[in-house]
Symmetry: none
Subunit: 225 residues, 2 copies
């Protein structure tokens, strides 16, 4: 687990680092807003512990800018007092949880764990190939920034192909797995869906293409290879 700590009060920052240390978490310490933001923007952390009051650029603003930059790393905000307005302001700007100082290290750890868990350490199952990511639960296909939603059949077809890239999958088999044994689906049905998929791959500007093997079936390959 990688944790970024942004806390100006040196003593507290050290203590936090210590706590992380004991959990064998990899922690980076930063002591002001701009540094914190810069580190956080790398997007490499699992959780960010962010003080609300910071010199230079305050915590609320850091949170806001992170969200604006589409960095979705969970943020645990530390607020000095339990002023309701502070809490709300933090959550408002994109923090995911908050804690008022002082706090027990147990609680800190519990909240960090909770955030990490929520984030999707719960395995978001995906299949991927050459920069193409197929999310098995949302049925979304993404590449870089772009993302498209796949219909059920599109999804099933692609799933079969992406599971074994470069291996030719007979149309027969696709029909069997997607339409089921007793369907009357014909080859053309598969062709239609392959066509749909190719269009979406193109839209995603992916290198991956679906190749045809005449009289047999299809397989995935990286373009140009």
């Amino acid at each position: 687990m990688r944790v970024l700590i942004v806390e100006d009060e040196a003593r507290l920052a050290e203590a936090l680092g210590q706590i992380m240390e004991e959990q064998r978490y990899l922690a980076d310490l930063t002591y002001n807003g701009p540094d914190g933001l810069a580190y956080a923007l790398t997007g490499q952390y699992d959780v960010i512990v962010l003080d609300g009051m910071l010199p230079g650029l305050d915590g609320l603003e850091v949170a806001r800018q992170l969200r604006e930059a589409h960095i979705s790393t969970p943020i645990l905000m530390l607020t000095a007092r339990d002023e309701v307005s502070d809490k709300v302001a933090g959550l408002d700007r994109g923090a995911d949880d908050y804690m008022t100082k002082p706090f027990a290290s147990e609680e800190l750890l519990a909240r960090i764990r909770a955030l990490a868990r929520r984030q999707g350490e719960v395995q978001t199952e995906v299949l991927s190939y050459a920069g193409l990511i197929l999310n098995l639960s949302t049925r979304c296909l993404q590449r870089g920034e772009r993302e498209v939603r796949l219909g059920f059949k599109e999804f099933e077809v692609l799933r079969i192909l992406i599971a074994y890239p470069k291996m030719v999958v007979p149309k027969e088999e696709i029909i069997l797995k997607v339409w089921g044994a007793e369907s009357f689906a014909e080859d053309n049905n598969v062709e239609v869906y392959v066509s749909f998929l190719r269009k979406k791959l193109q839209f995603l500007d992916s290198q991956v293409t679906i190749r045809t093997v005449r009289k047999v079936g299809y397989y995935l390959e990286v373009e140009g290879a």
Copy 2:
């Protein structure tokens, strides 16, 4: 706080679920050993309430296997009689506390809290996602200045979705958790509430949207991402 309940006696299981409900704990109910074990193995719970006698795979064995799998979620074992041998056996296999039936709900809650506390878990009073704040005690949903009050069912549905944003929650599961196992609620009920919620999200002018995965369920996401 997430609690897993493994109890074969349906009536008692429901009662436990009810108690958890009142505390605003997220509880999953399972009615036999194998299911309980499978759920518990996900490691997503803060406490497991486990009946000692279960069909299929008994509670002691479930506890043992959990510990063997290095799942350290605290276990509160329920034993039918106050047979000393049972208690000892339970604690032996990795249970952390036990209680004899019948018991007062007060005591159950106290013990659950104690176990959770030991674990370092904390009761959060709000859930938030992308600037959306769901207040668990007032059932209010706010974003920026605006705020709306949610009905009970609306609240429950949203709570499930916001607990794990971006994770698809099957309608089936929503029905189970909000309406209960033996309800005759249909898919359309969920759809209606989702519709209500979308309207309120829109009113709040939130970035968060409830997305549909056809034939499966729903998930929360930030618009435009």
